[in-house]
């Protein structure tokens, strides 16, 4: 364990205590903010799995969350299927769609995946908005909650458990042999493929897992809000997830978690300025991508390494 990893470890311990005990001291409003932040932790971390670790930019992550939310929501409303089962079905459908898009595009190169996922998310938004018999369009679809009795505390712990599970899966993946091949693909595609790594299969697999995770996150989010609208699969939402990963630090495990909390909490404070906050986040993300591609985590690590050297 080198010094940087050691420090990371120590940051982690108080963090766990904080997440377990803090909610008992929070108001209902801040509890809500924490739940939403955890949703974004799931979204940004799973997007980072494909973007940060394999270098493929998907613009359909919010769309897959929309697939999870609407599949589960419509199953619950029309067929009375319980939320947990609906979410699992939504997750599988998001994963299958991810597999299909990934299979078609990834062999053609990263640009094709970005183009097609952008198209997919626009089309999904158009379908959801227009098929209002089923989805209630922009009015939003009211769906039952995950728990029979509504309590923000239960949702908080549900979201916390699922986020922890996602992070565990992502951590295991990037530390595994597969993770090694992820990074090999990112660093040097030619070298990786000539040393026997099936770069395309690795990328398709990562994309499928990441899409399924977005589906599950979206399903949970929908059953928490109990009102799902075409905003969930919108490009605005996609931008927010991307900005969280970029500002926190792409390709780092902690980065997107940090980004999700920072941006969600910040947006609560600057909400009064209305739509300007999207513009502000856009400018910050642009500055980060241009001058500090490692995000906040990249900057911190640079400092730690400098201090270690001096």
């Amino acid at each position: 364990m080198d010094k940087v990893e050691f420090m990371r470890f120590w940051i982690f311990i108080p963090f766990i205590f904080l997440t377990l005990f803090l909610p008992f001291f929070l108001s209902q409003y801040w509890l809500h903010v924490m739940i939403i932040s955890l949703f974004y932790v799931m979204m940004a971390s799973s997007w980072n799995l494909i973007a940060g670790y394999t270098g493929q930019i998907s613009f359909a992550h919010a769309a897959f969350a929309g697939v999870g939310a609407y599949v589960s929501g419509m199953l619950a409303v029309n067929m009375g299927i319980p939320a947990w089962l609906g979410i699992l079905i939504g997750t599988s459908i998001a994963g299958l769609l991810g597999l299909g898009l990934g299979y078609l595009c990834i062999r053609m190169g990263g640009i094709y995946l970005s183009l097609t996922t952008l198209g997919f998310s626009e089309i999904l938004r158009i379908i959801i908005t227009n098929e209002d018999r089923w989805t209630r369009g922009t009015m939003g679809l009211q769906i039952p909650g995950f728990f029979i009795e509504y309590s923000k505390m239960s949702y908080y712990f549900l979201f916390l458990i699922v986020s922890a599970f996602f992070l565990w899966v992502i951590y295991r993946l990037i530390r595994s042999e597969m993770g090694l091949s992820f990074r090999a693909v990112l660093n040097d595609e030619l070298a990786a493929s000539s040393s026997g790594i099936d770069t395309i299969r690795v990328r398709i697999l990562a994309f499928t897992i990441s899409s399924a995770m977005a589906g599950m996150a979206g399903g949970l989010y929908g059953h928490y809000l109990m009102l799902i609208t075409p905003d969930i699969p919108s490009l605005g939402q996609m931008f927010l997830v991307l900005a969280m990963a970029v500002i926190g630090g792409m390709g780092s495990f902690i980065g997107p978690i940090l980004g999700a909390f920072v941006l969600e909490i910040l947006s609560e404070y600057i909400r009064i300025y209305g739509e300007y906050h999207v513009l502000l986040f856009g400018l910050v993300a642009l500055g980060m991508a241009r001058f500090a591609p490692g995000g906040i985590m990249g900057l911190l690590e640079k400092r730690w390494r400098l201090r270690e050297m001096s």
């Binding site: 973007a51 270098g55 493929q56 930019i57 613009f59 078609l104 595009c105 062999r107 053609m108 990263g110 640009i111 094709y112 970005s114 183009l115 097609t116 952008l118 198209g119 997919f120 626009e122 089309i123 158009i126 379908i127 227009n130 490009l235 605005g236 931008f239 991307l242 900005a243 970029v246 739509e275 300007y276 999207v278 513009l279 856009g282 400018l283 993300a285 642009l286 991508a289 241009r290 591609p293």
Partner: protein, 286 residues
Amino acid sequence: MAEFLMYLTNGLVMGVINAISAIGVSLVVGIMRVINFAHGELYIFAGYFSYHLSLTLGLSPILAMPLSVIFVFLMGVLMERFLIRPTYGDEMYSLIITFVLSIILQNSALLIFGPYPNKPPTLISGATSFFGLFHYGNQRLFSFIISIAILLSVFYLIKRTWFGKSVRAISQDREMASLMGIDHLKVNMLSFGLGAALAGAAGVIIAPIFPVTPTGSSAISLTAFVVVVLGGMGSLKGCVVGGLILGILENLGAAYISTMYRHIFGFIILILVLVFRPWGLFGQRT
């Protein structure tokens, strides 16, 4: 029959405008391997520029149109110089940066120009009768003629001039081209500007027919991307053929199947191309 011919003509007019916009994307992909996700926003900005130059400042539309295109060209040049150039060789960051830029421009357009569609004045009024079958707006015919003129000049620029030769050399082999003394930084910057200017040209041509709105920009980018993939990445001929195919299919589809799903036809084509012919109609199979 007359109705069908009218939709077909609409499709042709949209098709050439699609082709102009798509060439703007294809040129940049061919040379720099960069997709500009802010393409639709540049198109929208040009539409708004021409509206404000002609209605707010009172310039003649004949002057306002090229001036708007020049503004957008400058935006493209600045984007390349300060945002894209540092990402050379890193495809991922160029995708992130242009996507973030598209969100920034879209939100700025909402703030600056407001959410309402703005329609610049038309140059010509009236309609021409086609063989006594149907009447067609003169403004649309005029747009069609300008679009053809732009397409011809772009082809001339790429096939016949020094700039075009450098562009083709770089798309074929970047290293070899720079060994031959081509300043690829300058060519990249100019091509990115030209790509933006073509988005702008499409925008100012369409705006008097269909007014532009800030929220319409992603659909515009997507149409251009579908045309580029359909025609084959980097192929200019592909953009023209692909643009016409998409223009005609979308207009016939909107007329006979469903207006709401106009953009879905494009996405279906994109998926079909990826399944059956991923290198596109005129692209090189690698």
